[in-house]
Structures are given as structure tokens and as C-alpha cells.
Amino acid sequence: MTVDVAPSPENRVGAGATSERPAFAAVVVQIKQASPPVSAGLRLSHERLHEIDRAFFGPFFREKYGRGGDKALENDRIRYYGLIQPANDGGELAGRRYVHEFDTMTGCTRGWHETVDRAGNVRQIRPERNDGTTRHYQFDSNGRYRGSW
């Protein structure tokens, strides 16, 4: 299953693959290294990524984190989307979900929470830092960064 919900236009380059958004790539941090790294010289096609995902990692990650779908990125990473936990406040926000990302080249994983609006746009992310502090990064409905707190 493929999900296209990235907050920025550059993330909408294809149905099954996308670039990573630099704005929050810099602030999400590694949780752990899940497996030994793959050779850096080996570039994997998206089809191959999906094959690897399904054969080795999918059953583990998808069961825990990917109930809402998954997506292979162009940088050899796979994102697993949790189900949206609804927020019924009558506003423009639909709810939040946890996103878990697995780097097939390094074996590292990282995660963050996304808040999405009713149109499916990511309006806020909340990455997990190693020191346990959290920070919210907001975007408008067009994916433009608005600020953080």
C-alpha cells in the first residue's frame, strides 16, 4: 500500500517514491540501529526495496507501525504510517499518526508524530529527540513551514 501525504510539494514526485523534506529531516533523530548497514555502493530500486521490505522487515515493521500504509522513498528508506488517531474538535485538524522510518542502507530507524488536516495535508510534526524533549513544527496547508514551539 502506498500513501502520499507528505507536507511539501517536492514530496509529491511519484505514487510510490518521494524525496525527503529537508525542513524536518534535520530535526528528527535516530532511535536505534535495527540491523547491520547495507553496502553504501549498492543502490536499490524501489521495486527491490519493496521486495526486501516484504520479505524481511515488512512483517515486523508493518505489523507494529504500518497499519495505515507504507511508502518507499528515493533515498532507500521506507516509511510506515500508523492509523490516524482522530481529533474531534470540529476544527481543520483530523488527528495524528505515528510515522516510523527505516533506512535500508544503514539499518537505522527513527520516528515522529504527524498531525494531519482533513484534506490529508501534514500540518505539524513532532519528532522524538534523544534527550526526550519534544518540539512541534508547524506547516500551513501548502506545506510551507510556519514555525515551531
Binding site: 532511535i31 507494529k64 500508523g82 474531534n88 474538535d89 485538524l93
Partner: protein, 109 residues
């Protein structure tokens, strides 16, 4: 680390009663996630309900998400509804098990 259904339910209830802050619930759930991810040493009780236990933990992880500074995304009603949706089927299944056992007892005295 051991996580059971009653503990997850109690965290939900403590959040709703105000006995535990959402931030504390979030950190508790994150600790469970880290244990699961890094050490793989989390055990679930009852084991056959591990999916629901995990669903409850993953809801609590991030339950303190805010939509604006000082303003939580989720209302208490959201959390209460989530608790019922994610955990009550467990209770229902427990009742169903008891009912099945009772029925079997009648069929096989």
C-alpha cells in the same frame, strides 16, 4: 519489561482523571516502545491480546501532542473514545471467553 492490559487501561484512566499528565503518559508509552525496539524484551499479558495492548500503547505515545502552544490536540472525549475502541474489545473478548466456557460447561457437565 512487562506490559499488561490492566496497566494500559490504568494509564488511560489516570490521564482522564488527571492523576497522570498526558506528558507522563506519553513518556511511559515511549519507554515501552524503546524497550520493544531496542531490546525486544517487552512481554504482553495476556499474550493473545498483544495487538490491543500495543494499540493502546501507541495511542498513548503522543497523546500530549498539541495543536497550538498550551492546547492539546485531543480532548478528553477523544481519549475516552480511543480507550473504549482499543481496549474494550479485549474486555468483550474476555466476556465472550467466559460465556463460551459457561456454554461448554452446560454442554459437557
Amino acid at each position: 519489561m512487562h506490559v499488561d492490559l490492566q496497566t494500559v487501561r490504568r494509564v488511560f484512566e489516570d490521564v482522564l482523571s488527571g492523576a497522570m499528565s498526558r506528558e507522563q503518559a506519553d513518556r511511559w508509552a515511549y519507554a515501552v516502545l524503546l524497550q520493544e525496539e531496542e531490546a525486544g524484551v517487552v512481554t504482553h499479558s495476556p499474550f493473545h491480546e498483544r495487538e490491543r495492548i500495543w494499540a493502546g500503547v501507541m495511542y498513548l505515545y503522543g497523546v500530549d501532542t498539541m495543536k497550538a502552544p498550551g492546547e492539546y490536540l485531543h480532548s478528553d472525549d477523544d481519549i475516552s473514545a480511543a480507550m473504549n475502541a482499543k481496549l474494550d474489545e479485549v474486555a468483550d473478548s474476555g466476556v465472550a471467553m467466559l460465556q463460551r466456557a459457561s456454554t461448554m460447561g452446560r454442554r459437557n457437565p
